[in-house]
């Protein structure tokens, strides 16, 4: 019988301090996330220095909680996986240095993991992968289409050229005076509003799988501004519905096109914006008309967590990848 692979994951790339232990890359043994969102709310966004400070305060607390929640002991842990990038460098540094300290203290191998690889592998905690697969990653920091032909291999086929989708949501939310984080509020408003404004769709050049949301964001600003000057009142829910319709249409259409072009066996949606109901509904509708299965993990696994890092780390570990004690945080790490 093949021995289980037990990986401890650590994630601190933004504003969640997270630790998890995963068995065989598919089964969560423990998954603890300490969110700092309450602390950052007052600033209307994540403040890097404050995020880093919270990570130092939380790291060992979260580690301890993770072990309290499981029967797994250190003896059984095969390796430590940690997000090495991309993300906020100060925040990443806390996770990376803590992971290295654990690796040395417990004499366990260390595996650096790309944050996006983690988001993709969150899906494997629910359903086994079938290749080739296409992953759409949408979050506050990312909008990417990644093609995977086999485990541990990532081909970036499309990405945002300016703002991430989640970033555009947050900015529009701020214009509508919605509290941070704005994404869920826009989603709620959009559900009751109507698409009365024809905002642009950024398709970019023919055949491109890249995204762009800054033009849309400007169009929303202009629209609100002009309406104000003319003394017209726009309904917030209609602005939200119209904005969301543009984002969702482009994301869905490009994902569908890429899925067909690469003949994929699965489409995976990951990242915080995957929790967006409007996006989910549209993707589900569109893919239900194809025979390509669409996978969107549970909301807890969509947002940043360490189980996804442990899951991606499991594959890297099994493929023999190791990081040295000189592993560094890399804010702009490329997905390879």
């Amino acid at each position: 019988m093949k021995k289980d692979t037990i990986i401890l994951g650590i994630e601190t790339s933004c504003d969640e301090t997270a630790v998890s232990i995963v068995r065989n890359g598919t089964e969560i043994m423990t998954n603890v996330v300490a969110s700092q969102i309450e602390s950052h709310k007052r600033f209307g966004g994540v403040v890097p220095e404050i995020a880093s400070r919270h990570h130092v305060e939380q790291m060992t607390v979260v580690l301890e909680k993770a072990f309290e929640n499981t029967d797994i002991t250190w003896d059984e842990v095969d390796a430590i996986a940690v997000t090495e990038g991309p993300g906020l460098v100060g925040a990443l540094l806390v996770g990376v240095n803590s992971a290295k300290a654990l690796s040395f203290a417990k004499q366990k191998p260390l595996v650096g993991v790309h944050h996006i690889a983690g988001h993709i592998y969150a899906n494997r905690l629910e359903k086994e992968f079938e290749f080739p697969l296409l992953a759409l990653i949408v979050s506050g920091g990312h909008t990417e289409l990644v093609l995977m032909r086999e485990h541990g291999s990532y081909e970036l086929i499309g990405e945002t050229r300016d703002d991430a989708a989640g970033e555009a949501y947050d900015k529009v939310a701020r214009m509508l005076n919605l509290p941070y984080p704005g994404g869920p509020h826009i989603d709620q408003l959009a559900a009751i509003g109507e698409e009365t404004i024809a905002f642009p769709r950024a398709w970019l050049e023919e055949g491109s799988y890249d995204f762009s949301f800054s033009g849309l964001k400007s169009a929303v600003i202009n629209k609100i501004h002009n309406a104000k000057q003319r003394g017209e009142t726009l309904k917030n829910e209609d602005i939200a519905a119209s904005f969301q319709a543009s984002v969702v249409e482009v994301l869905t259409a490009k994902t569908l096109k890429a899925a067909k072009a690469y003949n994929v066996k699965q489409v995976i949606v990951a990242g915080g914006v995957a929790a967006n109901k409007g996006l989910r509904r549209e993707l589900e509708t569109v893919f239900s008309e194809t025979d390509i299965p669409l996978l969107i993990p549970d909301i807890k696994l969509c947002t940043d967590n360490a189980a996804m890092i442990a899951a991606a780390g499991t594959i890297a570990f099994e493929q023999g990848r190791r990081s040295g004690l000189d592993l560094n945080a890399n804010a702009s790490l490329q997905l390879k």
Binding site: F43, E49, I50, R53, N97, A101, F104, G324
Partner: protein, 235 residues
């Protein structure tokens, strides 16, 4: 009692190993190179050199700042996590206190400091009394100008210790003249061996609660608090 001491709070990267009061190994560089990349390999190398395994450690001592926010976090994160993993105590020591050990045999007041930009320094005043280092005035983030003004009013000699001494040498000499004692280069470099000694007699920190000694709020937080106050007085 095997002790590991770690200092990455400023430009110096220092690691030392002690057996009780005896320093048995020390590794130091004074370079502007990445602490995150170099700290764990330094610890590993030094421990190998003295044939010590991680589980042989009984205590970890870390310089908790003030200093570079990032640097301090690298040291404190490493120290806390190692201590937690090995289930041994961890002790945080002020980086200014470590520097004051370079004035162990000095009779007057010691002013260790780190540059904090725009004329500001992280500093405190210390004095050795009955073989103990005692604080004379609390550590603060303040203008060097104000530090010197305070010192001008006192009559004692002052020993200045700082890796950033060059920036303020002239101002110090101008303010205090003969009363300012500024030694040569090597004395301005904190030593991890001293950090070990400084931590030896201190109570352990509760591991989870040990946090860096930033001496300054994050800018966003300071602005937020200011805005809150203004709102209160207007509201």
């Amino acid at each position: 009692m095997n002790i590991l001491a770690i200092d990455t709070s400023n430009q110096v990267l220092g690691v030392s190993l002690l057996k009780g009061e005896q320093v048995i190994g020390e590794l130091m560089t004074n370079l502007s190179k990445n602490h995150s990349v170099r700290l764990m390999p330094a610890i590993e190398k030094l421990m190998k050199e003295v044939s010590m395994n991680p589980e042989d450690l009984d205590k970890i001592i870390v310089a908790k700042g003030p200093g570079s926010y990032t640097g301090v976090r690298i040291g404190v994160s490493t120290a806390k996590t190692m201590a937690w993993a090995l289930n041994i105590p961890v002790v945080g020591v002020s980086s200014l206190e470590v520097l004051s050990y370079q004035g162990r045999f000095f009779d007057g007041v010691i002013c260790p400091f780190f540059d904090a930009r725009r004329g500001l320094v992280f500093t405190g005043l210390y004095q050795w009394k009955n073989n103990r280092l005692e604080p004379v005035f609390e550590e603060k983030n303040m203008l060097m100008e104000d530090v010197l003004q305070t010192l001008q009013k006192q009559q004692t000699n002052v020993l200045f210790l700082s890796p950033d001494i060059a920036i303020y040498k002239e101002a110090i000499e101008q303010a205090l003249g003969e009363r300012a004692i500024i030694p040569e280069g090597a004395y301005h470099i904190p030593q991890a061996g001293h950090l070990g000694l400084a931590g030896l007699t201190k109570h352990a920190d509760p591991t989870h609660a040990l946090t860096p000694n930033y001496l300054r709020l994050a800018e966003a937080e300071a602005n937020w608090l200011k805005a809150q106050k203004e709102n209160e007085s207007h509201g």
